[in-house]
Amino acid sequence: MRRLLILAMMLGLAGPALAQEPPATPDRPLANAEQEARAQALFEDIRCVVCQHESIADSPAGVASDMRRWVRDRIAEGQTDTEVRDGLVARYGDYVLFTPPVRLGTLLLWGLPLVLVLGGAGVLVWFARRRSGQIEPDADLTTAERTRVDNLLKAARTGPEDDATLPPKTRDGTS
């Protein structure tokens, strides 16, 4: 009896996430293949507004289905991608797009990676220049290091090369 009850519940179930959700209307792709491709590309960037972190391309929620239909309708009406995006932002806010807007408040978000990598590279170049005069071959080798280099070179000429990422097995205690 319980099993039948569950079965009935299950067959009545449509939304995979929640039992209370109304059944999602099935997707009807646009007849025009080029327009459908544009719609699919847009779906990837549009956030399902009731989900945790899902695009409407992925989400099984009923709301996502409605949003997909809304986007397809706009494209069928002849709107451009930008117009569709603007329409969505007007309805739901910036939150609805996975691409954050570029404006004063998000300057740091968009700019920081570039600033960091250029700044880091600048610092490295500055270091390298300042030091370039100081690098004299072998000039700052200690006697112990020189012995090690000689041994390594000898080993490289005669025997198997030592691992390049690790110190040689011999004499490298805590010193």
Binding site: L13, D45, L109, L112, V117, A128, I135, S175
Partner: protein
């Protein structure tokens, strides 16, 4: 009674961790090996106590003791045994006990680390054990005061609420232990860095030795994180049924940031060890890596990700985690700032050198980690500051993160072929010429075979092949495959190659395989969805699937609509039967999808059973979504190879720091 024993064991572990701190600090101050030894013993005992508590928690889940609130909320008598056990770490409270178990476990390993001539100096070890004990005490206090898993319920419910069915999956049962092993393994790097900041002496070979001491811990953590993230990604791929494997979800980012930092640490520690350079940077990274782990725990465990407002409703746990993060990271970075001036190595190297290449690698990896950090936190900060709510998703990371990593990967194969101190870039490039040529040829051929032909896909193919072939080129250089060598000598050279070298080759080649898989899957996958009546066919890419039957079946704790589909190549060929299911879990009232996967070489045919509906002709039909995901296997095989590479390096005799064997030390 047994449950109270668990709660008691947790309290005991907290006290032992406190004792660990006090005894180790006192041992250091009085230079007393007895006191320091007591600190180490306390660390070991704390681990055993947390182990007992964890065992008790698992026991409570196994016997379905619903008088324990955590069991009642996360288990159910119907659940298969594996998920009863895994349920112990499936909830907030249980996962934090696991966190403490790993934390004290690594602490116990640290307590067993070698000392003396070939191992850690007395003072450094005592301070590191104290720091590890401090971390343990903070997190155990957090568990006991905000997230006690042993709280009893009255009245006792007859049945439990069960574990979220999405989590009832073998991959996800194993995912948290691996991931936490990685997250928390970095705590030892953190403790060793703090200890070195206090104990470190300039010169006299201290810092190169320190670089060698932290490498195994960084390596183990990185390998565990790699395996854990890959497993989680694979779970998302086949359990969520969306066809994707990485969504730049904040929860994913939370685990990815420590991974990037650990990868950077792994490489900079090599420079510190071999050349006594980049000391300050390596120490900084060791502190950053575990701080990012703790930040990840805060993000995932505080509820702040759902919304800033959800966090504000129940801020106790979040604020306490934030407090732990602020206290530990704040103290460590203050210490770092005070000592930074003394952390400059005196070793010099030319820009074109092994060190130079590793520095550039670190630049890109750390900026990439910073980018993920900014992308994850920016919406939270903006919203908390009263600004607009924005979403930062895949399109943002595609234009920021991806170019950074691409740059790092282009230079990667050159690094290992450059000499220390002053490298010969022209020579390295000459030795890589065949790898570069073959990569371009490979990319051109594959690019020509597939549609659509995107320029970025071609570039990605060349990059992936460049990594794989570059890793092989480096290997052939080491064994001097090319040149007048007898087979005997080749064999001898191959056998003489240390495990660490194999590990590096495997990890770099694995990264290349991952890039190939990710690029091809992303650029060339084909998705079709349509309603199918029994006997009808859907096609995607070079395969088609025919719906043969749909039946209702009963699982241990669910009912499922189970579809039988036949997958065959379009040109004809042997059909293969695949099952795709939609499961309904009455205990939680939830439905999950069980993807039907059919493996064809490196490609996946991916089938998702959707809604039941009436077709246009009035027949019963089911929406079936079919993906052809070319080379998807490499997305998960690549990271597996990377983790294996980490393991191989870890097994290298020369990286062994923990005295596990007690046998006579090999002659050094």
């Amino acid at each position: 009674m047994i449950v109270e024993l668990g709660a008691f064991a947790l309290c005991l572990a907290l006290a032992l961790s406190g004792l660990q701190v006090v005894a180790s600090v006192a041992g250091r101050l009085r230079s007393s090996p007895v006191l320091a030894g007591a600190g180490e013993g306390a660390g070991l005992a704390a681990f055993l106590a947390v182990g007992l508590a964890f065992g008790v928690l698992i026991y409570a889940f196994v016997v379905s003791d619903f008088s324990v609130s955590n069991v009642a909320l996360n288990s159910h008598t119907d659940k298969p045994m594996l998920y009863k056990v895994a349920g112990a770490w499936g909830s907030h409270e249980g996962s934090l006990v696991l966190w403490c178990l790993v934390l004290t476990g690594f602490g116990a390993l640290l307590a067993r680390a070698r000392t003396g001539e070939a191992g850690l100096p007395f003072g450094l070890k005592a301070v590191a054990v104290a720091a590890q004990g401090g971390l343990g005490a903070l997190f155990l206090a957090f568990v006991l005061f905000t997230s006690n898993p042993f709280v009893r319920l009255s009245p006792v419910p007859v049945e439990g609420a069960s574990l979220n069915p999405l989590l009832q999956d073998p991959a996800l049962a194993l995912h948290p232990p691996l991931l936490y092993g990685g997250y928390v393994g970095l705590s030892v790097c953190f403790s060793l860095a703090v200890a070195a900041l206090i104990e470190g002496r300039p010169g006299a070979g201290f810092w190169p030795a320190w670089g060698r001491w932290i490498r195994p811990w960084a390596l183990a953590s990185w390998a565990l994180l790699t395996a854990g993230i890959a497993l989680g990604s694979f779970w998302a791929y086949y359990e969520l049924g969306w066809g994707g494997w990485w969504f730049w979800d904040p929860v994913e980012n939370a685990s990815f940031m420590p991974w990037l930092a650990a990868a950077a640490l792994l490489h900079s520690a090599v420079v510190t060890e071999r050349r006594g350079a980049l000391i300050g940077w390596t120490v900084f990274l060791a502190l950053v890596a575990f701080s990012l782990s703790m930040l990840g725990a805060f993000l995932v465990r505080s509820g702040v990700l759902t919304s800033v407002h959800a966090f504000a409703v129940d801020p106790e746990r979040g604020l306490m985690l934030l407090g732990i993060l602020g206290l530990t990271a704040g103290a460590a970075f203050t210490l770092f700032a005070l000592r930074a001036g003394q952390l400059t190595g005196r070793t010099l190297f030319a820009p074109i050198s092994r060190e130079g290449a590793l520095v550039v690698n670190n630049l890109f990896l750390s900026v990439a980690a910073a980018t993920v950090l900014v992308g994850t936190l920016y919406p939270l900060v903006l919203e908390a500051a009263g600004g607009a709510t924005i979403s930062v998703g895949p399109p943002y990371f595609a234009v920021t993160f991806t170019p950074l990593m691409a740059m790092a990967l282009i230079i990667l194969p050159m690094g290992p072929l450059l000499g220390w101190k002053r490298g010969d870039l022209i020579g390295a490039l000459q030795r890589l010429a065949w790898a570069a040529g073959l990569s371009l040829l490979f990319a051109l051929i594959v690019w020509g075979l597939f549609r659509p032909r995107e320029a970025l896909t071609g570039a990605g193919l060349a990059l992936g092949a460049w990594l794989v072939l570059g890793a092989l080129a480096e290997l052939t250089e080491r064994i001097r495959l090319f040149g007048k060598r007898t087979p005997g000598e080749l064999g001898r050279r191959t056998r003489a190659l240390p495990l660490a070298a194999w590990g590096m080759t495997a990890a770099h080649a694995g990264l290349g395989l991952f890039v190939l898989g990710a690029v091809v899957e992303t650029g060339l996958k084909v998705e079709t969805a349509r309603p199918l009546e029994i006997g009808q066919t859907v096609a995607a890419g070079p395969y088609q699937a025919t719906l043969r039957a749909v039946e209702i079946i009963e699982g241990p704790n669910y009912l499922a609509e189970s579809a039988t589909l036949e997958v065959e190549p379009l040109g004809g060929g042997r059909p293969e039967t695949v099952r795709a299911e939609k499961r309904f879990f009455p205990a939680g009232g939830q439905t999950t999808t069980e993807v039907g996967l059919s493996f064809h070489g490196l490609d996946d045919v991916y089938l998702v059973l959707g809604e039941r509906r009436l077709s246009d002709s009035g027949e019963r039909a089911w929406t079936v979504r079919m993906n052809w995901n070319p080379w998807a296997r490499l997305i998960f095989l690549g990271p597996a190879l990377m983790a294996l590479g980490g393991l191989l390096s870890l097994l290298d005799r020369r990286l062994r720091t923990v005295d596990t064997t007690r046998r006579k030390r090999s002659p050094a």
